[in-house]
């Protein structure tokens, strides 16, 4: 070894990678195995049931409503949230999807998205508010959010399956994690962007920090938070489709099954359903954001 070092030296400089073997694969395996061993039972006992309960409740409600009534409701929702045009668009879209024979899948996907969004709001909103009030917490959250958003969606599926098994719930867990960052980020941003003059005015009249948050900062940040919600819904819709791979149902399953069987028509219809559903949800949530009272501006701005 020692007398060979003169021949080894230039080689070493040019390609140092053989010198050190970084066993990242093993570490990842160990980490997953270790966390599965520790958390699996706890997660299945405490995390799965509420997610499943909310999802089943949505599914029950949405599938119990007769389709005709549902169409009326979606029209009214679009009208109230945005405009009669959006209402009509939603109505026609849902009508078409029903005629194409994917109504049941649509309802399943809608309840999956609704569940994911409910949990994203429940967790993301408070986290976003804490971020806006603590620079240190925001600094800690930022890399975590970056990781949550840049990790390829497929990567979430493996640990989700190992921790929660197969089916809708692991799909939902992966979806919630993947779609939560926008609402955290934009809640934080929205609250921080509220004009200093409004906060000063609120202070000058003797508001407590809580009153400033709920009476001034939050309502004024609402349009931004709604933009975050909109992104969260879009992300959860895209993830819910990917989650079909680990057994989540609905339109994603339609696409996945179609592709597996090379039934392009089935995959196309499923894909079309997803795209149209995304457009409807996007228009409705955008309308909500624009109609929020906090979207008003004073002339002195």
């Amino acid at each position: 070894m020692v007398d060979d070092i003169s021949g080894l030296f230039p080689f070493l400089v040019l390609n140092p990678f053989d010198l050190i073997d970084l066993p990242a694969r093993d570490w990842a395996n160990d980490l997953v195995n270790w966390s599965v061993a520790i958390f699996r039972d706890a997660f299945r006992a405490y995390v799965s049931p509420p997610v499943r309960a909310v999802m089943e409740a949505f599914q029950w409600v949405l599938s119990t409503i007769p389709p005709l009534l549902f169409l009326v409701l979606i029209f009214v929702a679009g009208w109230l949230a945005a405009s009669w045009k959006v209402g009509l668009f939603a109505l026609i879209t849902f009508l078409l999807l029903g005629f194409m024979g994917i109504w049941d899948q649509l309802i399943v996907t809608l309840s999956l998205v609704a569940t994911a969004v409910v949990f994203s709001i429940l967790l993301g909103l408070p986290l976003g508010i804490v971020c806006s009030r603590s620079d240190r917490f925001a600094a800690i959250m930022r890399p975590i959010l970056d990781i949550m958003q840049t990790t390829p969606p497929f990567v979430y599926l493996v640990p989700a399956v190992m921790l929660f098994g197969i089916g809708n719930v692991p799909g939902l867990i992966a979806t919630i994690i993947f779609s939560m960052p926008p609402i955290i980020r934009l809640t934080n941003l929205g609250i921080r962007q509220v004009g200093a003059q409004y906060i000063e005015a609120a202070r000058a009249f003797g508001s407590t920090p809580g009153q400033i948050l709920w009476k001034v900062q939050f309502p004024l940040a609402l349009p931004t938070i709604m933009a975050g919600l909109n992104q969260t819904i879009m992300l959860s819709l895209s993830m819910v489709v990917i989650a079909a791979i680990i057994g989540a149902g609905g339109l994603g399953l339609e696409v996945y099954a179609g592709l597996e069987r090379l039934n392009i028509g089935q995959a196309f219809v499923g894909g079309l359903g997803i795209v149209l559903l995304a457009m409807v949800l996007d228009r409705i949530t955008q309308g909500l954001g624009e109609k929020a009272p906090g979207a008003r501006k004073t002339r002195s701005d």
């Binding site: 005015a201 009249f205 003797g206 508001s207 407590t208 004073t298 002195s300």
Partner: protein, 411 residues
């Protein structure tokens, strides 16, 4: 009502470290160059009396906005004391209050109006006005009634359901004023409230504020960069320059007797006609420029040297008995009465058979209008009707031209 004693505000990482430097008399720019700290306000003291409008006037960067924010501690003063005198509770140390005491003080004792209105855009006009009541947990229905009454007081009763964005700047500031009045705090802090408004609206708002103040009896600390506005509105004016108060006084004191070059330069631009009073420009009677002509049954007749054709008869109680021109008695009327009679007539040839009398605190503008009615000298009297002096053309002109801008001149 409020006593401000030696308030200093230094911005920067370690404000306390700068205080000794300030005591050594180092200038603002020296301190900024040496330590990177910015001195916002240095050693400001003044007293705001009950039911008074106290105006702080200064240019941008003079520290006036920092000063007003120190009073309700939106900005924490670095050194100094602020006391709030209360008829019930005695003096309270604002600078020593904890967070909750401070909130209670801002709710009950002091409210604020902002330069850029700072109305909450997501709330209706009425809901903006009752914000102060809402955060105190007052009954909603009662608050809304109070809010509506306050809105009617500022002339916006019909706009309660609108949003601020639907209102013009002047109307928005009326809402800002109503929001501050609705809490019934006795002290109103107004940070350049009319600076963002059009000139015409600004003058109108100034007049309305004066009227509101005399109707409601609030104590007002008023910040402005406009000397005319300060002179029009303020009972007392403090002039700030580079973070320090350079002069405090009534508008006339400052106009007639500016203490520094800086103040003098300002005063030069100011409109004296609403500020200079008859008392200030009058030629004293009796005085060195008069001589006694004769005495007749308790009435002393004086004539101005060189103008012996006019004789002023003054009785034993200093009151004006009569005015004689070449031995003939002429009519004597109070200035206010004549101005009222001729308020609407566009032009009157000055009469030479009428002498006007005015109160000592009549302002130059009124005297000039009186001059249009009478070509004869005007008699200045004190509150009891006693003669103080006379005002002729020369006094009026010097009142406009000379009674200001001279540093350290005697009033």
């Amino acid at each position: 009502m409020i006593r401000v004693e030696g308030i200093t505000k230094v911005f920067g990482p370690d404000p306390q470290s700068v205080l000794p430097l300030l005591e050594q008399g180092k200038s603002k720019s020296e301190i900024q160059a040496e330590t990177g700290h910015v001195v916002g306000v240095h050693n400001a003291s003044f007293t705001l009396k009950t039911n008074q409008i106290f105006a702080i006037m200064g240019l941008s960067g003079s520290g006036k906005s920092t000063m007003i924010r120190c009073v309700n501690r939106l900005i924490e003063p670095t050194a100094g004391k602020i006391y709030l005198d209360d008829p019930d509770q005695g003096a309270r140390d604002v600078t020593g209050m904890n967070a909750e005491q401070l909130r209670n003080m801002r709710r009950r004792d002091m409210s604020m109006v902002f330069q850029h209105f700072a109305l909450f855009p997501h709330r209706t006009v009425l809901s903006n006005v009752i914000y102060g009541l809402e955060i105190q947990g007052k009954d909603r229905g009662e608050s809304e009634r109070t809010g509506q009454t306050t809105l009617e007081m500022v002339g916006l009763g019909e706009w309660s359901a609108s949003y601020p964005e639907e209102l013009s700047g002047g109307m928005q500031q009326r809402v800002g004023l109503a929001r501050a009045l609705a809490t019934e705090a006795r002290i109103l802090l107004m940070d350049e409230p009319f600076s963002a408004l059009d000139p015409l609206i600004r003058v109108q708002m100034q007049q309305e504020l004066k009227k509101l103040q005399s109707d409601l009896g609030r104590t007002i600390l008023f910040i402005t960069h406009d000397l005319d506005e300060a002179m029009h509105i303020g009972d007392q004016i403090a002039i700030m320059e580079g973070g320090e108060i350079v002069q405090i006084g009534t508008p006339e004191e400052i106009l007639v007797n500016p203490r520094t070059e800086y103040v003098a330069r300002f005063v030069e631009q100011a409109d004296p006609t609403g500020v200079i009073t008859a008392h200030t420009i009058a030629m004293h009677l009796p005085g060195p420029r008069f001589h006694t002509v004769r005495e007749d049954s308790g009435v002393t007749y004086h004539a101005r040297k060189g103008y012996e054709d006019i004789e002023y008869g003054i009785d034993r109680s200093d009151k004006l008995h009569e005015v004689l021109i070449n031995g003939n008695k002429v009519a004597v009327e109070p200035l206010a009465k004549i101005l009222e009679q001729h308020a609407s007539s566009p032009f009157i040839r000055p009469r030479d058979d009428l002498v006007l009398t005015c109160q000592r605190d009549a302002v130059l503008r009124e005297l000039l209008r009186g001059r249009v009615c009478s070509a004869l000298p005007m008699i200045v009297t004190n509150a009891d009707g006693g003669v103080e002096g006379i005002i002729d053309e020369a006094e009026l002109i010097s009142g406009i031209l000379e009674k200001r801008g001279e540093v350290g001149a005697e009033a």
